[in-house]
């Protein structure tokens, strides 16, 4: 290979990577289902542990659904780069000459499509299980739609930092949960505001702001983390 000029255009590389990762993910369909099943199991633990009283469930529903979403995301995060790291393709991406930031963004997108989007799609079922008041369902879905990409974005930084560790997954959750606190607070506040009949659009605005900020900053940090891990 002569020189460092990447073969192919930027957007071409981006789309190729997304397609490749989606193909790989769908080849192992059972692994795809794992975070989904995890989500369902975790949610059902709450009524089992707390009691099936509908009013209590309704009160804690926004928090419980969001916490389950956090847990499910963290469980699936480790897979974001790990298999590529283990077989050496990650290093190939780094030296390919394409900006690592874009590669990170491509992988984050794949992760969200495979792990975050199912959470959004499952949320009506979770809402029914947790007896979430029906008028709040729309906002609940909105918060998940806006928030789960942020979870993938911020989580990718943690993955980048721990990818070279054998038990990276365990440390990953410790690293990433404190960073998730603001999203959790704002998202649940939005849903609870609707339940109480209070204005809620400012919370959605904050979530949008969070999404935009993490979309611009997180891929750089994740790329920097990967460079350190691979050094």
């Amino acid at each position: 290979m002569t020189g460092n000029a990447p073969a192919g255009s930027l957007s071409g590389a981006f789309l190729a990577l997304v397609r490749r990762d989606l193909l790989l993910a769908f080849r192992r369909r059972t692994e795809l289902l794992f975070p989904v099943i995890f989500l369902l199991v975790v949610i059902s633990l709450f009524p089992l542990g707390i009691g099936p009283g509908p009013q209590l469930l309704a009160r804690i529903a926004p928090g419980v659904i969001w916490i389950a979403a956090l847990l499910a995301t963290v469980i699936s995060l480790d897979g974001l780069f790990r298999s590529d790291f283990e077989d050496g393709s990650l290093e190939q991406f780094v030296i390919s000459g394409h900006p690592l930031t874009l590669i990170a963004l491509a992988k984050i997108l794949t992760h969200w499509l495979v792990a975050g989007l199912p959470i959004v799609l499952l949320s009506p079922l979770l809402a029914v299980w947790m007896n979430l008041p029906t008028e709040t369902l729309g906002v609940m879905i909105a918060t998940l739609l806006l928030g789960t990409p942020v979870l993938s974005l911020i989580g990718s930084i943690g993955v980048g930092l721990t990818i070279s560790l054998k038990r990276g997954g365990q440390l990953l959750s410790l690293l990433v949960f404190p960073l998730y606190v603001p999203i959790l607070i704002v998202a649940t506040a939005a849903v609870m505001a609707v339940a109480d009949g209070l204005p809620y659009t400012q919370f959605l605005g904050l979530l949008v702001a969070g999404l935009v900020t993490s979309l611009t900053l997180a891929p750089f940090a994740a790329a920097a983390a990967l460079k350190i891990s691979l050094s």
């Binding site: 930092l161 721990t162 410790l174 690293l175 960073l179 606190v181 607070i185 704002v186 350190i228 050094s231």
Partner: protein, 261 residues
Amino acid sequence: MTIEKTIDNPPRKNALVLFIHKLGSPAYFYTFAGRFIPWFWAIFLVLTAIGMYQAFFVVPADYQQGQSFRIMYLHVPAAWMSMLAYVIMAVLGFIALVWRIRVVEILAMSCAPVGAAFTAATLIAGSLWGRPTWGTYWVWDARLTSELVLLFLYLGVIGLHNAIDEPRKAARAACLLALVGAVNLPIIHYSVKWWNTLHQGSSISLLGGSSIDSSMLWPLLIMSIAVKFYFGANLLTRARVRLLEQDLRKSWVRDVVREGR
């Protein structure tokens, strides 16, 4: 030849830059830092003695809260220091990542355990202050909750640093994490503060409704300055030991140990 001449007779305008460069050398930093440490400890002890005396014997008891408010003179300076330590760690981490100076990497990493200690002390003092004030050992008020999240951030930095074997890679990874945490810290802080008011109507604080008399503030100020000298002394000590451990086989370390410094 020319290099030695420059070090011995530096042109004036380059002296500061040269000094900063010298500090990046482990041997020079070890010696230079070693001169400050005893002074920092001395100042810390003197200020703490004055502050504690004032806190317990000069400041009158608060009618509504009883004697337990005196815990404030530990809780608040420790809280401030825990946050300042994280900021310092993040700034040092930034410098370490951009300029790749090993001494700065070590300094940044040395901030973490000290900061974590202050955070732990803040939480325990706050918990014990809360018991006579609120009746329970833990209250999810804004400051304690923020401090708890801060403790998790510190533990994450320490954990990541310990998990990676190669020392420079470990330091760089943990510095990046510290930076990411620092960027998030104000967001976390404000969201927790706001979460607190959201769920309890009005913001609850351990200091309660009584206004703070100015005579109560002096020990607070003295203790918050004292604590910074503790931090400085501890930080430099940890950095020096780390350098000895990492440069075990180098000649400057042999010289230092032989001379008993």
